[in-house]
Amino acid sequence: MSHVITTEGLTKTYGSRTVVDSLDLRVPEGCVYGFLGPNGSGKSTTMKMLLSLVRPSRGAISVFGRPMDRRTRHELSPMIGSLIESPPGYGHLTGWENMAIVRRMLGLSERQVRRAIATVRLGDHMDQRVRAYSLGMKQRLGIAMALAREPRLLVLDEPTNGLDPSGIEEIRELLLSLADEGVTVMVSSHLLDEVDRMASVLGILGRGRLVFQGTREALFDRSVPDLVVDTPEPRRALELGIPAVRVRGGVRVSGTTDDGTAELVRRLVHHDVPVHGVRRVRRSLEEVFMDLTGREGLS
């Protein structure tokens, strides 16, 4: 599998504070890469470094197999579309006028601009001033600006931020359709559910470090499934000091190995707690994410 983006030991420090720490990213070609992490985990800084908007303190970045730095940025940037932080757009100008500025800025054709607008389905609102746009429309205009140069790589920083569920769904469908057309999409979010439903590869940041990178299935494989003990007397089981939470019809224990399971059942039986059944249950992706990011929370 070829990679569109690779980084080696990518690090950014501000004074004594390390914001991004030794990242080794691998973004495969033609996929939606979900870049996850709690707020302040270093996602935006990483994306800015990938776009050469921020200089790395250490490490190397390669985009389309070529080193990305200030000297090569002008050659590589026509292949990259981006939306960093909040969506751009001059409020006093209409959607068309904004796109005309982007067209002149990037030296694009009218056809490219119209295609981008059609892709984000914003055609009916292009005569309105951007000031009057809803947040969802602004996001779509921002994505149209990023798409206008027909990039092979799209880097989007929290594109669904502040959108309602239907807006999020629209963006999700759009990004999936772009990936189907062969565009590599790297999309960041602090909301796991949003990314989980569109990304085929995940990269998870926690306190500036890459704590996981791989497929959704690989992420589940790394976590130990929870153990549910079916018992009519969960209160007695908890009184034994077992690190568990009460669930319907029993208790649920996290992070228990096979040996731990045997020991747990032995203790319950020894104390005459009736055990009607023991089963493994898959943890939710959110729980795995919380564990990986050190329980910093999702928002």
Partner: protein, 254 residues
């Protein structure tokens, strides 16, 4: 690249009412400076060179310009830069290869042209007002021209300062506040000792005054050439250095 950036700035300035602002300012200066043209005492000296009717009109322009130009410059710079802060234009431009410094230089070119036309129009309209009012003494065109030229240069220097300030400080009321204080300083510099006018950039609106009071008469005056040249040179150099620094900085300029 700067040509493209200038073209972009022209398109961005649409609906910012830059032209309207300049027209209002020109009309205000012409109206306030020309008010005396309608008093009987002034009209009596329209054909008497000793009454110095043109000089009086020119001095009124100096006073009104010192009062209004710093505010106009601050407002124009603030409006043209604020759109970048509000619209995330710095990032949009940077990913397209235009650094914040390049944008500031382009804004300086566009607004510089607007300010030059405004300043020129102001002087021409005042001369026209004087002629229309019936001043028959020959106008001191060279003196007026020199003042207008110096005024354009001082406006451009202050424009550079305000563009940098507006880019660095996101809250545009700060720039406007500085412009207002600058206007006060410019007016009071006309009344203070000459050297005081050279202490702050806004004082140069007074320093370039082509006339000064001597007893009851107006005598020809002018800025100390090397001090004015030093100020303009320093303003241009510092602005270019600041723009270069902005281009090399990370993220937006603020």
């Amino acid at each position: 690249m700067i040509r493209t950036a200038v073209t972009l700035e022209v398109h961005k300035s649409r609906r910012l009412r830059v032209g309207v602002l300049c027209l209002v300012m020109v009309a205000s200066v012409v109206a306030l400076a020309g008010m005396n043209l309608f008093s009987d005492a002034t009209r009596a000296g329209f054909s008497d060179p000793a009454a110095q009717p043109w000089e009086a009109l020119l001095l009124n322009q100096v006073l009104m310009t010192a009062m209004t130009a710093p505010i106009l410059v601050a407002v124009l710079a603030g409006r043209q830069v604020d759109i970048e802060h509000q619209g995330r234009g710095w990032t949009l431009a940077r990913v397209a290869g235009f650094g914040p410094g390049t944008l500031c230089r382009a804004k300086a070119v566009v607004l510089g042209v607007v300010l030059t036309l405004t300043t020129g129009a102001q002087s021409v309209l005042l001369l026209g007002a004087g002629l229309a009012a019936g001043i028959t003494v020959a106008p001191p065109l060279a003196l007026w021209g020199r003042y207008t030229f110096c005024l354009v240069l001082v406006n451009l220097a202050l424009l550079c300062l305000h563009l940098w300030l507006a880019a660095r400080v996101e809250h545009q009321l700060v720039g406007l506040g500085v412009g207002l204080l600058g206007a006060f300083y410019a007016v009071f510099s006309l009344l203070m000792p000459v050297w005081a006018a050279y202490l702050l950039p806004w004082g140069y609106y007074a320093a370039i005054s082509p006339l000064a009071m001597s007893g009851d008469h107006l005598v020809r005056s002018g800025p100390v050439p090397w001090l004015l040249a030093l100020f303009l040179g320093a303003a241009a150099t510092l602005f270019l250095l600041a723009c270069r620094r902005l281009d090399r900085s990370e993220g937006g300029p603020a």
